[in-house]
Amino acid sequence: MAEGKHSKTVTMLVAMVFFMSGFSFALVPLYDVFCEVTGLNGKTAEGPAAISKAQVDTDRTVKVQFLTNLNNQAPWKFKADVYEMKVHPGQMYETSFYAQNLTADKKVAQAVASVSPGLAAEHFNKTECFCFNEQAFEANEGKDMPLRFMVNPELPKEITTLTLSYTFFELDKLAKQ
């Protein structure tokens, strides 16, 4: 049949289709790389930063603000113990957040962190954070959750205020959806 003379063209075109299908999934890791380079989204590291002995820059003070959000108005209490800290780059600080499960069921939750401005995200080092793991809560249980962090002295000079925002996601509900 006529298909014979088209087989080369069609093979090439079908290969393009497969290539572009692969490309659509390759966009997922590419997107992360892109975000890291541009600081888009202010994603912070998902694991603890190595404890480094950086020079404390006492001449410089950076304001760090803490925000807490609940995803989908989930029945939780979630707040920062202090809303704002004045910190010196290079020095280690500790603060804590309080979360309470307001329901009579066991719940698992995950906090997701984001730093604004986005380009500052890579200079905000957390050595301990409740956001590294899923957090399990008994019914009506409330607990204090610690955060240890250091602002890297390499933080660009023009940034004087950092906002760290946590969004609390309830995981049980996601699993059931």
Binding site: A2, E3, K5, H6, T9, V10, L13, V14, M16, V17, F18, M20, S21, F23, S24, F25, L27, V28, Y31, C35, T38, G39, L40, N41, E46, N71, Q110, V112, G118, L119, T167, F169, L171, L174, A175, Q177
Partner: protein, 525 residues
């Protein structure tokens, strides 16, 4: 059996009865199926638009509840984009490309049959969601995560319908490319091809490049919902904004998929009725190719407000503005083709001139929106709705109607009723402006899109817009009648049909075009 093929010893006419349409591999039959299917979907999607305009006729909730309203806006867009505009252009491609390049049929006739017959199944699946628990998809045709993940039982139907539509368009596109690359008559060099063939050639590559990306994106939605992945779920390390990036990487070339063939249609019609060859043929080809290339690097202008680095906003702003250059070349060429031509104003020409004027209106509002800071005001308002309806209705749909009037005499052998055609044109052209022009004002005044109710200060223009909508909707019934009457009979068309018509289909084939044409390749001068 047609007389014209009687001398063709090994040929036979169409099969008798309904099975002809199911089993056909003939490009003309499949073209007809596509065009009629698209007309049916145009009326179906139009009915949903009428519900939208009825609800927006006055403030408050009168006709439908907000959830159903959202289903209407979502389904209207899906049906019009994937059911009306795209199949109509594939139908035109099927009918015209083989006749224009002197080929006996499409390259892969069996696959051609399959790519059409997937469509009715896909749309049955999509339409059936209207009757499901939780209703049809209501999160907007762009299917933004995480909102779309709240869709009820309709969700998997939506995803699989999109998969089927993607498969159908990709198969259609492969067929078009193979036909154009391998089946041109001797002497039909690439730079001699009619512009409709050229624009479709480029469109087909766009389809092949972006439909798989779209399929990938909706597959990720599917696994996020049912298989516990977190592509777009922040709690699991994903990112909802990534969906918008992947979607618009498909979505922007998609809007050119819906307009490039329209450029081809208009470039065929205007020279005929201006009785002058097309001005700047090769610049038209290069302009089309540059628009296609640029379409891949401008996607984020749909999401300026989502949060982007300043450098990104500037890049996408300048890249978007650059598209105005090749588009301007095209508009200039059409106007120059008409300049000092011996113009007559038959219905296809009227629709084409309206296309040039009104598509430019849509293009200019697009240029306004490309400016990042002002887009922050326009984003998600009726200004956007006005913009893309000018490009898609007075752009794509008007060009499809122009094409239908222009080539119907060649397809059926009968002239349409010129008086009714002109009435249809004037009703459409007036009402479509009454319908969409006020939406510019509404958007600038701050009326958001996708809402069933609005503040009272928007009442007057919404009422005007709704009246235009009902008028435009009703006028299309006249179009259906004209198509029906032309298929049934009418004054016989000459072989050339139009005094100034050129191209193989008008110069070398009788009217109606025989069931099998160009079994021996024509002579191309």
């Amino acid at each position: 059996m047609s007389e014209a093929v009687a001398h063709d010893d090994h040929d036979h006419g169409p099969e008798k009865g309904l099975m002809r349409w199911v089993r056909t591999t003939n490009h003309k039959d499949i073209g007809t199926l596509y065009l009629l299917f698209s007309l049916a979907m145009f009326m179906f999607g139009g009915a949903m638009a009428m519900v939208i305009r009825m609800e927006l006729f006055q403030p408050g909730l009168q006709v439908v509840d907000p959830h159903f309203f959202n289903q209407m806006t979502t389904m209207h867009a899906l049906v019009m984009v994937f059911g009306a505009v795209m199949p109509a252009f594939v139908g035109l491609a099927n009918w015209l490309i083989p006749m224009m390049i002197g080929a006996p049929d499409m390259a892969l006739p069996r696959m051609n049959n399959w790519s059409f017959w997937i469509l009715p199944f896909a749309f049955t699946m999509l339409a059936s969601t209207l009757f499901m628990d939780g209703g049809a998809p209501a999160g907007g045709w762009t299917m933004y995560a995480p909102l779309v993940l709240q869709t009820g039982d309709a969700f998997p139907f939506l995803i699989f319908a999109v998969h089927l539509l993607g498969i159908s368009s990709v198969m259609g596109a492969i067929n078009v490319v193979a036909t154009i690359m391998n089946m041109r008559a001797p002497g039909m060099t690439l730079m001699k091809m009619p512009l409709f063939v050229w624009t479709w050639f480029i469109t087909a590559y766009l389809l092949i490049a972006v439909m798989p990306v779209f399929a990938g994106a909706v597959t990720m939605l599917l696994t996020d919902k049912f298989f516990g992945t977190s592509f777009f779920n922040a709690a699991g390390g994903g990112d909802p904004v990534m969906f918008q990036h992947i979607f618009w990487f498909f979505g922007h070339p998609e809007v050119y998929i819906m307009i490039l063939p329209a450029f081809g249609v208009v470039s065929a019609i205007i020279p005929t009725f201006a009785r002058k060859p097309l001005f700047g043929y090769s610049s038209m080809v290069y302009a089309t190719a540059s628009i296609a290339f640029l379409s891949f690097i401008v996607w984020a202008h749909h999401m300026f407000t989502v949060g982007m680095p300043l450098a990104g906003e500037l890049f996408f702003m300048y890249a978007t503005m650059m598209i105005a250059v090749p588009t301007g070349v095209k508009v200039f060429n059409w106007v120059s083709t008409m300049w000092k031509g011996s113009m007559t104003f038959e219905t296809p020409m009227l629709f084409s001139i309206a296309f040039v004027v009104l598509f430019t209106v849509g293009g200019l509002s697009g240029l306004m929106m490309s400016i990042t800071p002002v887009d922050f005001q326009y984003h998600d308002t009726y200004f956007i709705v006005a913009h893309f309806h000018y490009t898609l209705v007075t752009g794509s749909v008007f060009s499809i109607m122009a094409a239908a009037y222009y080539w119907m005499p060649k397809w059926t052998g009968n002239m349409y009723n010129e008086k009714l055609g002109k009435i249809h044109f004037w009703l459409s052209a007036i009402f479509v402006n009454v319908l969409f022009f006020p939406q510019h004002f509404l958007g600038l005044a701050g009326m958001p899109r996708r809402i069933p109710d609005y503040s009272v200060q928007f009442t007057d223009w919404n009422m005007v817009s709704s009246i235009g909508g009902f008028g435009f909707g009703l006028s299309q019934l006249l179009f259906c009648y004209i198509v029906y009457a032309t298929i049934r009979g009418g004054e016989k068309a000459t072989d050339q049909v139009w005094e100034g018509a050129t191209g193989l289909e008008f110069e070398q084939l009788p009217s109606p075009a025989p069931y099998h044409s160009f079994n021996t390749a024509p002579e191309v001068k």
